[in-house]
Symmetry: C2
Subunit: 119 residues, 2 copies
C-alpha cells in the first residue's frame, strides 16, 4: 500500500492507495471523485484476467465501465430479457469492493465490457 494525496485542479483531494487483490489477479488503485470512481488496474500474478487485454493493447486503455445497481439479480434478469449475455455462469461473484458483481458481453454493448455492481 502506498498512500498518497493528489491535489487536482477543481479542488478535489483523494487518498490514493494501491491494493493487491490476488483473488482477482489485479492490483487496483481507486481514485474517488465527487460523483464517480476511477479504477486503475495492473496485472498481478500468473493468469491475470487483464493480461490478454494488455497483450492486445500494449499502451493500456479503458478496460471496462461499472454501473452500480440496487439489486444485481433483478438487473441481470432485466438485461438478459433485453438480450444481453452475462459472462461466466451468470451468478454474481464478489468484486474488487467485496460486493457482488457481474460482467456483460462486450459484443452486446458496442464493444464495451460492462460490469454491474450491487450498491
Amino acid at each position: 500500500m502506498t498512500p498518497r494525496k493528489i491535489d487536482a485542479q477543481g479542488g478535489f483531494t483523494a487518498a490514493v492507495m494501491s491494493v493487491c487483490q490476488p483473488d482477482h489477479g489485479v492490483t487496483t488503485v481507486f481514485i474517488t471523485l465527487p460523483n464517480t470512481k476511477i479504477e486503475l488496474i495492473e496485472p498481478l500474478g500468473e493468469g491475470s484476467p487483464i493480461a490478454k487485454f494488455l497483450e492486445r493493447n500494449p499502451d493500456g486503455g479503458m478496460h471496462h465501465v461499472c454501473y452500480e445497481v440496487e439489486d444485481i439479480r433483478a438487473a441481470r434478469n432485466a438485461l438478459k430479457a433485453a438480450g444481453a449475455r452475462v459472462l461466466g455462469d451468470g451468478e454474481p461473484r464478489n468484486g474488487a469492493h467485496g460486493k457482488p458483481v457481474l460482467f456483460l458481453h462486450p459484443k452486446d454493448f458496442s464493444g464495451t465490457l460492462v460490469e454491474i455492481e450491487q450498491r
Copy 2:
C-alpha cells in the same frame, strides 16, 4: 432526432435523442444518469474524427472519458505542467455540448483518450 424514453432497472428515466453534429463529424446520443452521462457516438459525414477508431475497433468500444472542470485554461496549464500533452493547438474549442473542451494525449494517460470540458 428520435426522442425515446428508457426505463432501466434502478429507477432512472432518461430522455434519449440522437443529435447530428456536422461540425464535429458525429451523431451523438447522451444518456443522462443521476451522476454521469454516457455519450454514444457514430461517425457522420466524410473524415469523421472517429472513423479511424472504428477501423481499428470494428466492434466499437470506449472512445474517451470526459471530466468536467471549473476553469479549462487553469486545468490545461496544470496538466501541461504535470507533463501531459494537449492535442491540437492547445486552445479550447466548443465541444458537443457547446462548451469549451480540450483533448489530452492517450499516451500520457495509459492509453486513454481524455477530454476536459468547462463546466
